[in-house]
Every structure is written in structure tokens, then in C-alpha cells.
Symmetry: C2
Subunit: 261 residues, 2 copies
């Protein structure tokens, strides 16, 4: 045990979940896991301002956003691309179906924009950690709605206002390595807009909109790790921006506004 000031930010992985299958009650599993954590560590029972970070993978599985590869008929383009790079053509087919726009398709990698507006590798389609060899997970249809539904259940069960972040690991330009970001949010706003506030020198900040929800997702990843089978992380102590909660409405950038592209 370590004693830390309450001003600190703490990320704690909840106990591992059993394999999640389509139709499972994910909210019930989350509530049970958090209760188990609190039984071992009463100080970690839910309190106002806590955030439960849930990986996209278990959300997608519970929502049935899973594809059985045996049911997939790849289009010729998928067969050709898969053949060139030693990939499974049916998997490529699913990625293309999940892509609103393919941005790059080379060296075996597909970078695309999903219908939600997320730009990521393979349109978020994932084969790892799915449990069965011939299935893929797709991103949730509406990750904000997934987060809201989960939050409603948590608030009802615990009687305190907690937030929810649905997270996934995305690559990014210019830098190697993936970082976890927020795909769906409930209970707080994803961005802290500090524009117009004085900084530590009393100078007004002009361009400081901080992606708090993405930073919370990244902090959670540090606590969970990739190989641990722990898809739930409690993040406590972050200053949560109040206001509307929507990643697609507030974080996803219209390409016309995007000077970083």
C-alpha cells in the first residue's frame, strides 16, 4: 500500500472479468468487479468524480459487435491486398466494410476513417483478445451511447455520479507507438477548455483545450497493461470538465478544421 494525497490521480485496474460474450450484461460485470475491488479496498468504493475506463473490446463483445469470419465473403480488392501482404482476405473485407473512407492501404496496413469519424488502423477491427480464433470485434455502433448506458447502470447501482470512458488503442502520425484514447464518454465533457483563463503567470491562454478524456484513457492503460486481461480501470482524482458528453460531437474533428493533417 502507498498513501497518496487525495489531490493525486490514481488509476487502479479492477479485478479481471471472465470472457465477455455477446449479450452478456457488461454493466452487471462492471458493478460486480468494482464491488470486489471495494471489498478488498474500501477506500476504492465508488465516489463522486470517479471514472470507470472500459476497453472497447469488452463493450463490443457484450454488444454483439463481433463477426464470424466464416460468414465473410471477401471482395476481389480484399483478396488481392490480403494476398500481397499475407493477410486474411476476410479480415480485410471486414475492415473495408467498417471504413467510411480508406485513407491509406499499403504495406499490409489499412488506415481509414470510420463512420464515427475516428481515424485508425483497420477501422478499429481487432482480432486479438477475442477469445475465439475466427472472430473479429468491430467498434461499437455508438460508443457515446455505450458509455451512457453503462453509466446509467453504475449511477443507479452505486448512487454516486461517476463517469465512464470507453477506450481503445490508436496509432498516430509522426510518433511510433499506440496510446489509449477515448471513443465514448458519459458523465463529463471530454475537453477542458481553458481558453481565456489566466495561466500560472496570469497570462491569458489562447489555445489551451486539453483532451482530458484521452489523457484519462492513457492513464488507465498504464494501470491495466495490454496482456493482463483487465479491461476495467478506475481513474480517480482527475478534474472532470463539466458539460455535454460526446466524443463524436466534441472530439472528432471535421477534416476541414484539421491543420495537423
Amino acid at each position: 500500500m502507498t498513501q497518496v494525497p487525495t489531490a493525486a490521480v490514481v488509476a487502479v485496474a479492477l479485478p479481471a472479468l471472465p470472457e465477455v460474450r455477446p449479450g452478456d450484461d457488461l454493466a452487471g460485470l462492471c458493478i460486480g468487479a468494482w464491488r470486489d475491488l471495494a471489498a478488498a479496498q474500501p477506500g476504492l468504493a465508488p465516489i463522486h468524480g470517479d471514472v470507470l475506463v472500459v476497453t472497447q473490446k469488452v463493450v463490443s463483445k457484450a454488444e454483439g459487435r463481433v463477426v464470424d469470419l466464416r460468414s465473410v465473403e471477401p471482395r476481389p480488392e480484399a483478396v488481392e491486398f490480403a494476398g500481397r501482404f499475407g493477410r486474411d482476405a476476410r479480415q480485410v473485407e471486414v475492415v473495408l466494410r467498417e471504413s467510411a473512407e480508406v485513407l491509406r492501404m499499403e504495406r499490409g496496413l489499412i488506415i481509414s476513417r470510420t463512420r464515427h469519424g475516428f481515424v485508425c488502423a483497420n477501422a478499429g477491427v481487432d482480432a486479438s483478445n477475442v477469445g475465439e480464433a475466427d472472430t473479429l470485434t468491430l467498434l461499437p455502433e455508438d460508443p457515446d451511447a455505450s458509455a451512457r448506458a453503462l453509466r446509467d447502470r453504475l449511477v443507479a447501482a452505486f448512487g454516486v455520479s461517476v463517469g465512464v470512458v470507453v477506450s481503445d488503442s490508436f496509432g498516430r502520425p509522426w510518433r511510433w507507438g499506440i496510446v489509449d484514447v477515448c471513443l465514448g464518454i458519459a458523465g463529463f465533457a471530454p475537453l477542458a477548455d481553458l481558453r481565456g483563463q489566466p495561466d500560472a503567470d496570469g497570462r491569458v491562454m489562447h489555445a489551451t483545450v486539453v483532451a482530458i478524456a484521452d489523457e484519462i484513457a492513457s492513464a488507465a492503460e498504464l494501470a491495466a497493461g495490454k496482456t493482463s486481461g483487465r479491461p476495467l480501470v478506475l481513474v480517480r482524482g482527475a478534474q472532470l470538465p463539466p458539460g455535454e458528453s460526446s466524443v463524436t460531437a466534441q472530439v472528432v474533428m471535421d477534416p476541414r478544421d484539421d491543420l495537423f493533417r
Copy 2:
């Protein structure tokens, strides 16, 4: 106080520093601040595997990477661009000097690649939090070297192997909001390369290289906030990848490898 399992990741802001000026002994200030924290909270005295996250701003100030605007003679291009968007032409001039390559220059914003290879707004040149109205901070000449020098002093003072991350807030494509990333590192490797390891289902992961140091920088930002004047954050509990420590050698991507651009 909250009791947390030692397996958790904890980010705690160190006590605020006084205004840092060129030539100040930043390592000495860090050692003093950490001792003050440990005096109040003995459990937070440095231990093996701790990471001290230091904002670029105080590193740059201590290293004298500060420009007095009164000494800057803007080129005609800077005057023209500044005039169109209500910016200070001398500030634009400094940004152009710090840019190895300007990627975008429109709507008042300059996105460029620095000599280190970082792609960011205004080449990392910053006017906020500098203390005096007519100065700008530039990025450190070599943030990895800054981190190494700081780490050497911390290890000598505390006698334990701690890591150091020099952090800054960067925008990114496709998503609104800035997140803190790692510009310089010492004591551990910035990336956890999990390729070839089995995931939670025993399936080998093919594309999982996690940007641990960037996630640590983001977690630290959650604890410090932007307006607090707290440039130092202790991050404890992250699994630090062993190996070479260099952001420019390991994280900065050669544009030819960058399918996300």
C-alpha cells in the same frame, strides 16, 4: 488520503517551484521539491521505478532556451503572416527559425517539424507561463540530454533508479484537444514492444507497441493541470520498459514510415 494498492499507477504533483530563470539549478529545485513532498508524505520518497515528469517549459527556462522578443528582427514573410492574423511578427519569426520544415501556415497557426523531428504547433515556441511579457521559450536543444542530466542528479541525490520524462502539450490530427507527450526521456525506454507476446487469449500480438512514456506524460498532466504552476509530477507504478532511452531515436518517426500522415 486514499489507500491504493501498490499495483496502481499514481500521479502526484510535487510542490510548486519558484519562477525558474536561465541558469537556475533545475535538478536542485526538483530534488528539493521531491524532498518536501516526501517530508509531508514519507511514502512518496523516491523509490526504484518512479518517474519524474518535468514540463518542457521549466527545462527550457533553466537551460536559457528563452528569446527576448526585443532582439528579434522579423523577416518580411513573418510580418505579412502576423499582420493577416493579428499575431506578433517577432513571435512568428522565432517560430520560423525553430522550424526545420513548415508543414502548414494558415489561419494564424503554424504547424512545423522541429529539428528534433517533432511535429507541433508553433515549433514548440511558447509565450504562456514564461514570467515576463516579452520573452518566449524554445524547446530544449536536446530534450533526451536534458532528461539524462536531470536523472543523473536525481539518482546521485536519492540513490535509487528513477526515470525522467520531459513533457510538452501537443495537438494532433483528427481530434480536438492537446495531450501531453514525452519529448525527452532517461532511465527507461519510451516504447513497450509487445510484438510476439501472447495477449490475454494466448494469441500473439502483431502490432502492439505501446507508447508508455507518452501515456506517462498524459497521466502527469492530469495531476498537474495547466494553470497550477506545478511543473513537476511524480508518476509511480507504471511498468517501465527497459532499454535504450531516446525519444528522437525511438519515438520520432521517419516521415517515410508514417502511414498515418
